[in-house]
């Protein structure tokens, strides 16, 4: 609970953060920056979990616990993604999105 700040302001903030992440995911041309956009999205959702827990249901701890899980997931995902990016770099000597379009028709 933050003095003078209602849940609306914080949810607005996390929504903005989320959609900035989405925008970055759409527009970035480099796999590492795409990964960073995903971090933004994950953080926005973690903030939501925490805020809704503390503002609406302070007697329960679900939101808090899940925010910890989210951070664990995010760390794992980052480690794996970095590993894939490095392996890809070994293969095609590039981490650009346009060089990874092998799934094309």
């Amino acid at each position: 609970m933050i003095e003078g700040i209602s849940i609306y302001e914080i949810l607005t903030l996390s929504s903005i953060l989320f959609f900035i992440g989405v925008y970055g995911f759409f527009t970035r041309e480099n796999l590492i920056t795409v990964l960073m956009s995903i971090e933004l999205i994950l953080n926005a959702s973690a903030v939501n979990f925490v805020v809704i827990n503390t503002y609406l249901y302070p007697d329960f701890l679900q939101g808090s616990v899940f925010s910890i899980f989210i951070i664990a997931m995010a760390a794992a995902e980052t480690a794996l993604a970095i590993a894939i990016i490095i392996n890809l770099y070994k293969l095609v000597a590039s981490v650009e999105v346009k060089d990874t379009q092998k799934l094309k028709y």
Binding site: F25, F26, V34, V97, K98, T100, Q101, L103, K104, Y105
Partner: protein
Amino acid sequence: MDFSYTILIPLIPLALFVILGIFSKKIPASISGWMGSLGLGVTFVLSYYTAYQYYLNGKVNGIYQTFVYKINWMNFTDKLHIDMGVLIDPISVMMLVVVSTISFMVHLYSRGYMKGDDGYTRFFAYLALFSFSMFGLVLATNLFQIYIFWELVGVSSFLLIGYYYTKPSAVSAAKKAFIVTRFADFGFLVGILIIGYYTGTWDFQELNAVDHETGSLVLNWASTSFMGLSVITWALILVFMGGAGKSAMLPFHIWLPDAMEGPTPVSALIHAATMVVAGVYLVARLFPMYYFVEDGFALQIVAYVGAISSLFAAIIALTQHDIKRVLAFSTMSQIGYMILALGVSKYEGHEGLGFMASMFHLFTHAMFKALLFLGAGSVIHAIHSNYLQDMGGLRKYMPITHITFLIAALSISGVPFFAGFFSKDEILAAAYENNMLIYISSVFVAGLTAFYMFRLYFGIFWGKEKKYEHTPHESPMSMTIPMIFLAFMSIAGGYIHFSKYVTADHMPFEAHLNYYLAAIASTVGIIGIILAYVFYKKENNLSERFSHAFGVFYKWTYNKFYFDEIYLFVTKKIIFGLVATPAAWFDKNVVDASMIGIGNVTESFSEKIKGMQSGKFQDYAMGFISGGVVIAIVVFYLWIN
């Protein structure tokens, strides 16, 4: 009396067919010919033994008994079922003798005739298949079994006509024979089904059982009528349609002349002596039905079809140049004889003379017509041509062929003391007693027969002296021996007292030669021979002058009264042109086109949208998120309202 061993008669050729057919590439020609001849030799002996046993000991109280050995093969109802087995009665035993004799002779003859041919073993395999089917047909115990073997002889006939399958004319002749007979067999099948439906049985014994007290059939069926005739009469007419197809009666005769494209021994076996008389045999098999149902209305039709075919074919035979075609039309004419004899016959005692005469003529005709074909084959073998124009003066080169051919020609012309004289006389007597119109036409046909046979005889063995590239020589022993045997039969066959053995009601009677009628027939025959002698003995232009005198009629006859052209017109112009072409147009432009159109639309549409499958994960994510957004908007909009 036990005749169960007769089952071996069809099974031996079947085994031969399987062995020769499967190992046709492995078995050398020298062995396969002997195998075929030996197998058929065994059936020949068995058949004669059966005949001897049956005709000597088969009578109880003066009536020939019927022996049936069968297994139940397929059940429809308790009563209606298809059996497989053998039926031994006077006509089937007589047919066994005919088929085994001719088949054995043709096997022996083919060993010489087909020598050096590539498909030698295949030829003998087909012959064995045919023999098997024909024996099965003859011994059939019920209508359905006869139908099965009926189709099998059709198939083996198809295979043998198309034996020279590299020759387009042989292939088309084979197709023609198969399609025409198959078309007729459609009627046969419908007839069988009608009989099965209304009488509840297909068994010959049950169908033909006659009550001697009342003089009618034992089986009584509901007299349902259709278009003024009882259904069973219709069924019998349809069954006869099948018989007419196989026996080349009008209007299904068109396949027989073309079938001469097959090897000559095949023509002798199938298209002269055995398969083509299957129609006669079928009517004889169901004779009590034909005679008793509705006072023999169906039998009247049979008689007229036979008479007209016989006259018609005899006229065409006068003008043909291909010797095998002359013989083919002659066959058709003689089968017409047999059919008309059945048609004018009655059932009991001496009244059944026509039936006996028909079977008698079937027997003698098989012998002398097979001999004529084998003789023709021998001639063709020597000079490699089918045409009368290429022949002449061959009597010096081929004495045995000459003599045997002369015997056969005399026999078919009804010259006294030859086999054909006796059988033909019985037929004419039967016709004289029952139907004057048919009698007169038959006598006329007898004269025509004598004329065209001696036209052939003089044209081949006398006439102008030809210069041949190779000096023709007599055929080898393997070919002449069967011819000599058949020549013997063509004389001796006439002295068998058929009325003691083969009759409609299985009871022997005494038939006497009617000297008055015999004298007329022989006189007409001899006039025919003398005319042929005048026209063709020496080279002269009498025949040309006569053909000019007859003009249009000659042309019509030469073209077989344009029957083939009429059929072609009907099938091509009317069926193909008026029905098939619009149907094909509809199929191509509506049915196919709509299907192809659907395919094309799908293809072009997918070509357009395949760009969406860009492989860029960001594009996919964009699609996913936009979709989510749209769904969210829709959900909230509905939520508000």
